[in-house]
């Protein structure tokens, strides 16, 4: 197809689609930011406000925020835009997709940009919490800048604790206490449960993350942090974690059977239909604004040690974004992750601010003093570890999530499930493994 023909068609499309905008003598660099909406529509507006402010402060750049759905859909849309030859200048990408995107050559290293600012990678990443480095720095190169992050958190309805004669200041800290508390909190009417003691989300994406939290609390690792071709599904730490979850359902009967979606879990908690839940810190603001009862939050209870995976998203620059657009994207990324903006976004959402300096701002200090629950969420960062990320993260994650669903529906024993998940995950990662760890010098 010739250029003329293409431009004619494009011109026709333009004219047909929307009114022509006035042309400026010196047009600002136009960039798009793809972003998922983490909780609700309010945040989409907050994002628009944020970008508007950026455009006012940076007249040479015109950034457009583009809402792209959930985390998974944002990945899909980014790839679609790249295939169409129109990569967005920057994307807020789920933090555990970065490794896969790097392996497929779809995002670019930011080392040169950092160097041009006169910093080393360590200096640059030093502004963010250590727990976040594992999902952003790959093979010693920076591929993502943490934007908003989360960890799983235990939420407890303290009214229910009091009602059951338990001390509302003493929340379960280990699995033993979790089970005994959940048993006391569960209410039954004959065989029918009218209130659950505990709920944990197990839908795609959420289930894997929660299971990772349980596994890590059980001393496990889930995946090889340094190598994208290994997961440790069929291991004792994971078997313990999965059995624990399964026991809550089938043995102790304090947790409903089958898959529970994240929204269903928070909905049940807010409606007083479950007394405790494990949910993202990213839901903290939503719970705070909607709970009509006193609640408290605590670290994810441990069996062997306190440990949780991080969640949330990082800013990335897709491959193919060059020149002025890349520079503009970099300006935007730095602006959005600076302490004040980071702190503001954190207060709006409940996610914690990845930039450590955000917590030194006066507004943030005041906010934490007023909302101690937000403070506990941040403290848990000390024990946070990288989120699982492998070659083809999504299908590898799905392999275990499908088995998790089978266990929670009493279709399989935890051991059977883990063996099957391991086999499937190994099969998915095999091309990568054969090309890396198993590829040996022949002469």
């Amino acid at each position: 197809m010739t250029t003329t023909r293409r431009s004619v068609l494009a011109g026709a499309a333009l004219a047909a689609s929307f009114a022509l905008q006035p042309a400026f003598a010196q047009a600002p660099t136009e960039i798009e930011l793809f972003f998922p909406v983490p909780v609700d529509g309010q945040l989409a507006r907050d994002m628009a406000t944020l970008i508007k402010e950026f455009n006012e402060k940076n007249p040479t750049i015109k950034a457009t925020p583009v809402y792209t759905g959930s985390y998974d859909e944002t990945l899909i849309k980014t790839r679609a835009a790249m295939k169409a030859g129109k990569p967005p200048a920057a994307v807020i990408m789920s933090a555990n997709f970065l490794l896969d995107l790097k392996i497929e050559g779809e995002i670019q290293s930011m080392d040169a940009l950092i160097k041009a600012d006169g910093k080393t990678n360590d200096q640059f990443m030093g502004q963010f919490f250590d727990a976040l480095h594992g999902n952003a720095v790959l093979d010693r190169q920076v591929y993502g800048v943490p934007f908003h992050n989360s960890t799983p958190l235990l939420y407890v309805n303290t009214d229910h604790l009091k009602e059951a004669g338990l001390d509302p200041d003493k929340l379960p800290a280990n699995w033993e206490e979790l089970v005994t508390t959940a048993k006391k909190l569960t209410k039954r009417d004959g065989d029918r449960v009218t209130r659950w003691g505990m709920m944990m989300p197990s839908n795609y994406d959420y289930g894997g993350w929660i299971l990772q939290a349980l596994t890590q609390s059980n001393g496990g690792e889930w995946f090889n942090v340094n190598y994208g071709g290994e997961v440790y599904y069929d291991t004792p730490s994971m078997l313990g974690a999965l059995t624990f979850w399964s026991d809550l359902v089938t043995k102790h009967k304090v947790h409903p059977a089958g898959v529970q979606a994240g929204g269903a879990v928070s909905g049940a908690f807010l409606a007083g239909q479950t007394s405790m839940m494990l949910l993202s810190t990213g839901s903290l603001t939503h719970i705070r604004n909607n709970a009509k009862f006193p609640y408290k939050v605590a670290f994810v209870p441990k069996n062997v040690r306190n440990a949780v995976p991080i969640g949330g998203a990082s800013l990335v620059i897709p491959t193919g974004v060059e020149g002025e657009r890349r520079k503009a994207a970099w300006t935007l990324i730095n602006w959005m992750t600076a302490p004040e903006k980071s702190a503001w976004w954190s207060r709006a959402t409940g996610y914690f601010a990845p930039n450590k300096a955000a917590y030194d701002t006066p507004e943030m200090k005041e906010f934490i003093a007023k909302n101690p629950d937000a403070g506990i969420a941040v403290k848990q960062l000390d024990v946070a570890k990288p989120w699982f990320a492998t070659y083809k993260t999504v299908p590898v994650r799905k392999a275990i999530e499908d088995e998790l669903a089978a266990v929670l529906s009493a279709k399989k024993t935890p051991k059977e499930a883990l063996v099957a998940a391991q086999k499937q995950a190994d099969e998915i990662m095999r091309p990568f493994v054969e090309q890396t760890a198993l590829k040996l010098p022949t002469n």
Partner: protein, 311 residues
Amino acid sequence: MAQAVLTVGKAKTWSVPDWRPRRTTVLAFALLAPSLLFLALFTYWPVVQVLWQSLHGQVRVGGPQAYVGAQNFLKLFADPAFRKALANNLVYALGTVIPSLVLALGFAMALARSSRVNALFRALFFLPVLIPLVAAASIFLFLFLPNIGLIDYHLAKLAISGPNWLGDPDVALWSIMALTVWKNAGYYMLFFLAGLQAVPADAYEAAILDGAGPWQRLRYVTLPYLKPTIGFVLVIGLLNVVTQVDHVFVLTKGGPSDSTNLLLFYVYQQAVENYDAGRAAAGTLVMLALLLVVTASSLRTLERSFGEKDA
């Protein structure tokens, strides 16, 4: 310009030589051209691309596409998730098309007569057709929500605890099917309403004179007249169950444990989650082959509906 007019004029008056396309042929293709252009761009050409892609795949991770022969198909059929999706689609097709059809026929027969009340009820059954499938799915997400959702809330008042509608692998597909029936029955009802107009009133009168009861009239008068409509709706319904998966996208994403995974959703997963364009293309072709079988086996019905043969 004058020359052109002259040429056309000549072609009109002269007898047409055998090798030259006849005027009506030129006219026919001129009339078909706009459609054929768009069909070529957005139907035939993509199929060619899918055919090519089904024989290619990434041999090196992150590398270019290379010829891999039948490997994509072998891997496809070896994938338990694909076989599961295939089986699910079969259950889904039977479990949605037949109930929708029966309900639609029932609605149409009950509301066949034009009256204000009937018009209201027809409209009522048609409402679900008018709202976007994504939006309907959002509403049903709440209906099926465990504990606090619409269904469980009302069941709890009767002291019954319902199953985990979307979270139990044994139940989830049936919940999805309920939504599909709700969404589509009203649409098919319109076709039956149209079809019922073709049943002559004296056919009923004759049947009544013969002493036929209502069920006999249904069996021997209504159904035979409606045969083409039933065939047509059947085909439309079968095409719908393969090509519409927005609600799976919103409600379950194919889970739990692939229990609601349907072919198109599987293909979509392969393309965007597994990032395996080759296997996705192979899956698309299998799906197209199935659609082809559905359409081919009902070709006579379609031809009759669109009047190719009996015209």
